[in-house]
């Protein structure tokens, strides 16, 4: 039980950090600009010109493509009197004339097919997006590029083992969504792959028995029962999420078998190592995806947020069929 506690504390701390940060930041901002808090609550509106700004400000000299784009946009942005802000970079996102904001709001309502999300913590989210971006290029990508030298067959085995460990969570979530057949499939898969597949080193249930994986997660389960995103949040390393899906992650964590392995058998360092390996192993199949996403985007922050909302919407809708 001790293990569970330490791991939980660490996890909650991480999540708490991301939640608290924006709150603290907003508290600072409300002091200098009386309007700021009201603006901050008006979701995507306040990040119209903000992303280009925050992007260009933080990218260093030789960035050829994006800097030129973003700065050109930047010059035309209505520059407001900047009050001295304690929160530095992140706070620059908050400047927008009320008039411009109205326009954004109106067009928001007019067009969309429901793929919008409240983003009251846009400045911190953008900062976290930038941090994740740097982490990708500076840490994850070099590490993964070295890791890729491990033959693909081995990497697929690792991937299957990790995936098999998530079967209980998939089963329970399918069960909670009352999708009994899918839940049954996952139960059978877990048994077959764990026993015949020796801890899931291959997807025998799929390859020999034709029983396919039935994805389900706790964020989806919450959505299934009508719980909305709440607001958008960019998690460190894990990327786009929301209040609902963040809670979903915690829920899924408690449905993961490794959570219940006693501390004596698996130290938290080892757990973290496993997590890191899973992360890199997963990434090794997706090298280049993030680059092409970024190359295709005009505003990567908004593109990512929108993709997240659209993707999760589909996943929740599918659970209702």
């Amino acid at each position: 039980m001790k293990t569970v506690k330490t791991q939980t504390v660490a996890l909650l701390f991480l999540i708490g950090l991301t939640f608290l940060q924006p709150v603290a930041l907003r508290a600072e901002e409300t002091v200098p600009i009386p309007n700021a808090s009201a603006q901050a609550q008006m979701q995507p509106a306040n990040d119209a010109p903000a992303t280009p700004g925050s992007l260009s400000e933080k990218s260093s000299p030789p960035t050829s493509v994006d800097t030129s784009v973003t700065t050109s946009v930047d010059h035309q942005k209505p520059v407001q009197e900047q009050e001295p802000k304690a929160s530095g970079e992140a706070a620059t996102g908050e400047t927008l004339t009320p008039a411009a904001q109205e326009v954004v709001e109106n067009s928001d309502v007019a067009v969309d097919e429901g793929s919008s999300i409240a983003d009251p913590f846009a400045p911190t989210n953008k900062l976290m997006f930038e941090i994740n971006d740097r982490l990708y290029f500076w840490v994850l990508k070099p590490v993964t590029k070295a890791y890729v030298h491990i033959p693909e067959d081995f990497r697929i085995i690792f991937s299957s083992v990790y995936d098999n460990l998530k079967a209980p969570a998939r089963m329970l979530n399918n069960l909670m969504q009352l999708r009994m057949e899918r839940a049954g499939n996952e139960l059978v898969r877990f048994l077959i792959n764990s026993v015949v597949g020796i801890g899931g080193i291959g997807d025998i249930a799929r390859d020999s028995f034709g029983i396919k994986k039935q994805d389900a997660d706790f964020g989806q389960t919450l959505g299934h029962y009508g719980i909305d995103h709440g607001f958008y949040i960019v998690l460190p390393l894990l990327g786009p999420s929301s209040l609902r899906d963040g809670i979903g992650r915690v829920g899924d964590y408690f449905m993961h078998p490794l959570t219940y392995v006693p501390h004596e058998d698996l130290s938290w360092q080892a757990s973290l190592g496993i997590l890191a390996h899973e992360y890199v192993n997963d990434a090794s199949f997706r090298i280049g995806d993030y680059e092409s996403f970024k190359e295709s985007a005009i505003d990567p922050y908004i593109a990512m947020r929108d993709a997240f909302v659209q993707n999760r919407k589909k996943i929740v809708e599918e659970s209702r069929h």
Partner: protein, 220 residues
């Protein structure tokens, strides 16, 4: 009793099939949407798997071939209109035309590298779902080693041919995604400003082939 029921059902089925024939007969000569998309997809795979086009040196040739296919496969004007939605009318005809050209280049630049990196993936076309009278969603799945990615092509019937006006990958619609980005720009800027942004993006992207276009340049 049961025979009577059966007869009624049979009659109903016949009537229904006649109605379906009447309704469907218009696009029938254009070929089925699924077959159309699949044919294009096969052509792309042909380029990717052509043994005479292996290696870095032929990358330009392959990209050119992809472009030729995509120009037939996609209705870029329709795609542009749907992306800009009500903002489309804010553009004058000249600007609209330029937007289509730039947006097309942006998409081709961004995705051709990605597509060229695919070789072993299997593509399964599963079904087509009618969206409106003239639009259909063709559903496919790309089977990668560790995952399956659902890719849906939305096609529109125009001048007797089905052409793609939106691609939906794992629930993420391409046009919706760009709409959300362009909307932010057009909310407080003129169309010209968006065109300028696109010009720079397209012009700049042309110089950097490969992943070294962004912060990755800052290698130690």
């Amino acid at each position: 009793m049961s025979i009577q029921k059966l007869m009624i059902r049979k009659g109903f089925a016949i009537v229904l099939s006649i109605i379906i024939c009447l309704v469907v007969s218009v696009p029938a000569h254009a070929g089925l949407p699924l077959d159309t998309v699949k044919a294009y997809s096969d052509k792309v795979l042909e380029v990717l798997r052509d043994p005479s086009l292996k290696g870095e040196s032929t990358k330009k040739v392959r990209k050119e071939r992809l472009r030729t296919i995509s120009e037939k496969m996609f209705d870029f004007t329709e795609l542009s209109k749907r992306t800009l939605a009500q903002n489309w009318s804010k553009f004058n005809p000249g600007q609209q035309q330029e937007f289509v050209t730039l947006y097309t280049s942006l998409l081709e630049d961004a995705y051709s590298d990605k597509i060229l990196s695919y070789t072993n993936e299997k593509i399964v076309f599963s079904k087509e779902v009618a969206l409106t009278e003239k639009t259909v969603e063709v559903q496919s799945t790309v089977v990668r080693k560790t995952t399956e990615i659902p890719i849906y092509y939305r096609v529109i019937l125009k001048d007797g041919a089905w052409r793609v006006y939106d691609v939906v990958v794992e629930g993420v619609s391409l046009t919706n995604n760009y709409r959300s980005q362009f909307r932010e720009i057009l909310a407080n800027k003129q169309p010209e400003s968006l065109l300028e942004t696109l010009r720079k993006k397209v012009g700049g992207a042309g110089h950097s082939s490969g992943p070294a276009s962004e912060p990755s340049q800052k290698k130690p």
